[in-house]
Amino acid sequence: MTGQSHNFGGVNEAKGLKSAEEGTLAVEEEEGCACGGHGGCGCGGHGASDDEGCGCGGHSAGGDSCACGGHEEAHASKKEDKVEFEEVNSKRPETPDVAVSAEDKTFACYHRTIEEIEKMPVIEKTMTVCPECKLIIPGTIYKDGDMVMIRKFCPEHKWAVEKYWEDYDMYTKMKRYNYFGRGVDNPNYLGQGQNCPFDCGICERHKTHTGLANVVVTNRCHLSCWYCFFYAKEGEPIYEPTVEELDKIFRNLKAAKPIPANALQITGGEPTMHPEIVEVIRRAKKAGFDQIQLNTTGINLGFNHQMAKDIKQAGCGTLYMSCDGVSPRTNPKNYWEVPHALDACREAKIGIVFVPTVIRGINDHEMGAMINFALNNMDVVRAVNFQPVSLVGRMPTRLREKQRITIPGAIKLIEQQTNGAIRKEHWFSVPYVGGINKFIEALTGEYKYDLSIHFACGAATYLFLDDNNKVIPITDFVDAAGMVEMLQRAVDEMQGKGRMARKAIAVKTLMSLPRIIDKQKQPKSLNFGKMLTNVFLKNDFNAMGALHSKTLFLGMMHFQDEHTYDIHRVEKCDIHYAMPDGQILPFCTFNVFPEVYRDKIQKQYSIPAKEWQKISPGWNYRQDKYIRNVQKLEQDPLFIKTYANMKDYFALPINGGKPVANFPVFKTKYPQPAPVAPKPIIPAIEEKEAA
């Protein structure tokens, strides 16, 4: 029996949940979800098959009954067979049928004639792939009104157009910070990348070192999300490297030159299902990773506080936790378990990054509410990292058009939903940070972490919550653009100068830093100028750690799919997967072409199901699965405390006084537990008196 199964036994016992063997029908949610599903694997990528799911029209509608109306016989026979559990998040729900009008601004860009499209102003040329046959073809990025689109022509499959970026002004603003990094001096695969992206491994053409290394520790998962290709289904081989194999992968990542990876994300499947996850984290820490994240649903840790403490002690500081919304409808994956995960992390002192995958028409209306939820739990939540959906795999064109959302699209919705408190001007593209580390490198002559990714891949901002509950985005009091220009000028000036001259230039630059900070507007609890000077004087980003602890980081990371594929983006990718055969692969080759990378290599190193059963006596596929008891979870005081007592920060007069869009109204059909009478403060004395 695996360690995981032991944990689950513990969980069920502790929470009073019945196990599958006891015959509980897992209740998925209260109302039946119509969400369309979202990735919470952290990757932002989900597959979609040709059809639209079983079409049953819903999930278990609370209690023990199923509302699907389509498979009564099947359900009845299942009950008879005592196979009465339903895998969490395993059904594809129906997508709301929104009529698509050619005049609608959101969709008009898809429905033009080729003659009209060819007349649109061209922004730049790139190389892309045909979504159908994977032929490398030229792509043209062009302006269509306010939109930035990509068009491509395959000789066999003709024209294809897709949204690239939903705001032209933001595109031009972000593009200013684009620059080319140095790549890796000792690439793991010998090749010049002529046939990019099919020459990956990583080759000498790649332009960015590993910024965040992903290592898959298992493909077993306790959920069965309908869109996910990443977990082992019944009878499929198990990919679960041993601690020694993982240790070797970690050391390989640390051997990269000139800048080894320093941030590691341990992912899966569900990584907490690896029986030696604590030891894995310990080895990663020993290998030299300063920042170790666990990409998880949070369910196992939520019900096993000791495990949370152990992983913290081993070196994991952050939980990268999928959380797609603040209602059961938008977050069928772990809505009920999130309060427990928050509690466990509070106790273990682990920071949490919420990772909502955003799908238009599904959960895009709850982005503001997600930020508000994070602000309510700022003692433990460090960041919200939105991931606009990556529509990998085959799916109907119309559905793709409806669900597509890009970074600016999401940013604009956040502006609407937060009452204008977080506006699009507040966001900067990730390579913006390059200005700061270039300055430090030029000053010290030492390599610094280089976030030279493509500007279209990510955007970010910081929110400060002041003492009076005012939400203040960083760019409200810092002239961020001015700062980077100033630092870039200093870098140019330093070129060719000696050490002393460089230091003099740096001092002159640092002296003028206060000019870019508006002290009147900065949060009262913060001295940003001092903090920034510390960053430069300490010559590393440790001082930024203090910044993180006082703020909420908002990030956007948009992974590509075959339709939006841009080779300029993939060759600058800094989120890499380290594989057991020693190769290192950018996220958007690993996940967009799984058939030649992810699945292929993992299959090579997997253990066939039969062999796995031999070496894991007593294990079976179902044992891994999580059984949810909604009634128990909704009656839990922690659940009520988390969702019923939420504050709407954006409704406060200081933040505009307009409630955040779709502020979750707490409701449960289950009776609330009677309030427990407070215990006497000094029971011993009172008991004595009573006697």
Binding site: D185, N188, P275, E441, G496
Partner: protein, 203 residues
């Protein structure tokens, strides 16, 4: 009992090696490094290179890249490289007689596939060279210990400036790490303090 208990791993390993032997697959499931087992899907496989291809059949670089992609779709093809300019195709594949239980493919099948894709390879021994390929030594070990192929300077430095600075930094680092050797070179005992002028102030 946890499946990763040492005793069990050893038992399992030998058990599978035995099973593999019985099935005529040898002990190629694992390699041992520092006494620890590492799963190794392949050992001795094949590398075939088809050269002097007709460039018209290769069409152009995008088509060559797609051909490479299509070759990689075979589970038995571990790596493929199609070079348009040098007019060759190199395929590392798992041949039918290989000592493992993974998917296999024959050279004939590959040639047939290429012909279906419109690329006809020559049968002459000069143009079709097949050699043994040690997956562990040539692929796996390279990926885990890749040599440096260049040296990029930090931002704000030219290559020449960086060469000078690097030499200085290395010297400083060496001095800090080996104070004894430096002291000996300078004719001092390690840990010896700098002498004063010899003058003492009387109280």
């Amino acid at each position: 009992m946890d499946r990763r208990d040492t005793a069990q791993v050893e038992k399992t390993e030998s058990q599978f090696a035995k099973e593999g032997e019985e099935a005529g697959q040898g002990e190629s499931h694992f390699i041992m490094e520092n006494g620890k087992p590492f799963r190794m899907p392949y050992r001795i496989i094949k590398k075939v290179t088809f050269s002097n291809l007709n460039q018209n059949e290769l069409i152009d670089i995008p088509h060559v890249a797609r051909l490479q992609y299509r070759l990689l779709l075979f589970d038995a093809v571990i790596k493929a490289k199609v070079d348009y300019h040098k007019r060759f195709i190199r395929i590392i594949y798992n041949p039918p007689h290989a000592d493992n239980n993974r998917e296999k493919i024959s050279r004939e099948k590959l040639i047939e596939f290429l012909a279906n894709e419109g690329v006809h390879v020559s049968a002459s021994p000069e143009d079709t060279v097949e050699v043994d390929y040690d997956y562990f030594k040539e692929h796996y070990s390279y990926a885990y210990f890749p040599p440096s192929i260049r040296e990029s300077p930090p931002y704000g430095y030219t290559r020449e400036e960086w060469k000078r600075l690097k030499a200085e930094k290395e010297k400083e680092k060496y001095r800090a790490e080996h104070p004894g050797i430096i002291a000996r070179l300078l004719g001092k005992k390690p840990g010896m303090k700098k002498k004063g002028s010899g003058l003492k102030l009387h109280p």
